[in-house]
Symmetry: C2
Subunit: 362 residues, 2 copies
């Protein structure tokens, strides 16, 4: 098998498998359920690998991901609130089809609307989304969590499944001590919310949340029962720069391969991978192979990147291959939609990322 | 037909058709060939509309785009240099299949390598890519252009097709006068290159370049024979902020629809469209409908955006639809891969963007 044409997303299967095993063992040793977030990979094959190494199921961020990955793991938690009738109907189709899907709500109107969409006799597990303070989604106050949990528990087609508490913005705080401080502050409110629920006879059986950046802190804190980590399977420059703790270190399993397509200047060359091939929201990728390690990549439009070489470094030849580490893995995967697989540098085929896109738009 | 589920890319067909007609008429009136860049839309249907209104063909940025859009327009120019044997073979397949494809080169090694890959007796049209000074792709000096053009013309399977001179980084300079100054400076070197080629009996029959930002300036300057504009069909916030001149004004034809999925705070709501649904490289999208026009969108992760409302503005209800104008159309299209069509607010179906991705990775 020849190397895939560039630009392409390349997945090191050995590193992937070791990362999956490492987090699985870590969660198991601490009695935590592991429900990896599939928004990172959007792949049935990777969800299957995670389920085989002890994951209780997966998380999905979109209904399309859940529809595409249904059956690849024992159960799915849809971590984003759904609020419109078209999507209530799509959730009802999971119930009708016997797929173990759970959803989150953060608004009282959603409870009766969701229930009304269900097929007669069908049951749906619903968790209360609790805002850790970032204001993205979730109920803001403990009393709102109690009211929502009560409404869920009171409905004969809904099962109260616990709460979600995801501290997204804290995952990437570089220093472990700073991240611990941030989570400790948020956990005070989480503990209060759990206590308020318990006082109302609504003790959450599942408290789901956490990510690659906080999983060690969350495990120590002991409030979460289930971890939603996603990026640990691939790693990226952003998480690579964080002191992770917990089950870390993880290996860099995901790279983008690019080709030198123009080399008409002494100090730099142009690559065939730009912002349509590498997510740019968290900065430039780092050079892992193919050029001097101190070479610097800069985005140069949709289709191109510029590789600036340090003084005296050999200029990579036109046509040569450069291996780049993305700064942010999830949106980079989203640009490609499939993985070119490698084991010890030898190509092993391709896995599609079936959950890419939003449904009608793929 | 109901409105498509969010987040989704929505294309106003009336505005699209008027934009296409307007640029077509402008180029025709000035005796310029129009070869719109399909990297913007990646769609066979849109390429077909452009060809029907006078385009001589389309440009493609990747071989995959060219493979997917082959036949949708009379001819294709691949505007990025190709330098590796796997891609030379894919170019040869166009020649073997009788598709009118032209390519650009910017390195002397590419001429014999390209020619060697061609099927026996097959001919390929090759243009010299001339660097306007941005250092992205193209030969840096007039004498290099002459050497490359001579090598192309000397080969019995290659046709010397002229030169490409694309000033990518100048397209988005906000003020028309500043953009004119930048292009005028670059054109001095272009004129010198054309003169050097002519002195060697290699007068370029085609001088292709230009974009939505400079098409009026390019038409006035009179050096280009062919315009490569792409974004004029959709427009975006970035080009909307530029004083375009030429055939402008163009209408905003492309939007992203999002839904309010969380509304638990007085001054803001959360939308279901983040950096996986709207390109973030050129800043935040603008609110066109569904909320107070002074509301401000801020990216809030891969799947979410926050809509901050001005003081006293009514908060859009949970479940309501917000219409957003992307800041950068090309990479936003690349995130979705298909268009939900509308005419006067009524859905009219869906067009895929067949050229999305890079081939094996879709």
């Amino acid at each position: 098998m020849t190397l895939p044409p560039t630009p392409c997303l390349v997945l090191d299967l050995d590193a992937l498998e070791r990362n999956i095993a490492r987090m699985g063992a870590y969660a198991a040793a601490r009695g935590l359920a592991l429900r990896p977030h599939a928004k990172t990979h959007k792949s049935r094959m990777i969800a299957g690998l995670q389920a085989r190494v002890g994951a209780v199921g997966i998380c999905c961020a979109t209904l399309h991901e859940a529809e595409q990955l249904a059956g690849a793991a024992p159960s799915i938690l849809l971590t984003s609130p759904v609020v419109t009738p078209d999507k209530f109907a799509r959730i009802a189709a999971f119930v009708a089809g016997g797929v173990d899907l759970a959803v989150v709500v953060d608004h009282p109107n959603s409870v009766p609307a969701l229930a009304a969409a269900l097929p007669s006799g069908g049951r749906l597990r619903v968790l209360v989304d609790v805002d850790p303070g970032g204001g993205r989604t979730g109920v803001a106050r403990a009393q709102d969590a109690v009211a929502l949990a009560s409404a869920i528990a009171a409905h004969d087609q809904l099962t109260y499944g616990g709460i979600q508490h995801y501290c997204g913005s804290d995952q990437h705080i570089p220093a472990l001590a700073d991240r611990r401080s941030a989570i400790t502050a948020r956990n005070a409110k989480l503990a209060e919310t759990i206590a308020a629920l318990s006082a109302s006879g609504l003790t959450p059986q599942v408290v789901t949340g956490g990510g690659t950046g906080t999983h060690g802190i969350d495990a120590e804190a002991g409030l979460l029962t289930e971890l939603q980590c996603g990026s640990y399977i691939f790693m990226d420059q952003d998480y690579g720069a964080c002191e992770l703790g917990g089950a870390a270190p993880f290996e860099q399993a995901l790279t983008v391969h690019a080709t030198v397509v123009s080399a008409n200047h002494p100090g730099f060359v142009t690559l065939d991978a730009g912002i349509k091939a590498i997510a740019s929201d968290a900065g430039s990728p780092r050079v892992l192979a193919g050029a001097h390690p101190d070479s610097r990549y800069a985005f140069k439009g949709d289709e191109f990147g510029q590789l600036d070489l340090p003084d005296g470094a050999e200029r990579p030849a036109i046509g040569s291959r450069i291996v780049l580490m993305p700064s942010h893995c999830d949106p980079t995967v989203n640009l490609h939609g499939a993985y070119h697989l490698m084991r010890s540098g030898v190509p092993e085929g391709l896995w599609p990322a079936q959950g890419r896109g939003y449904g009608g738009d793929i």
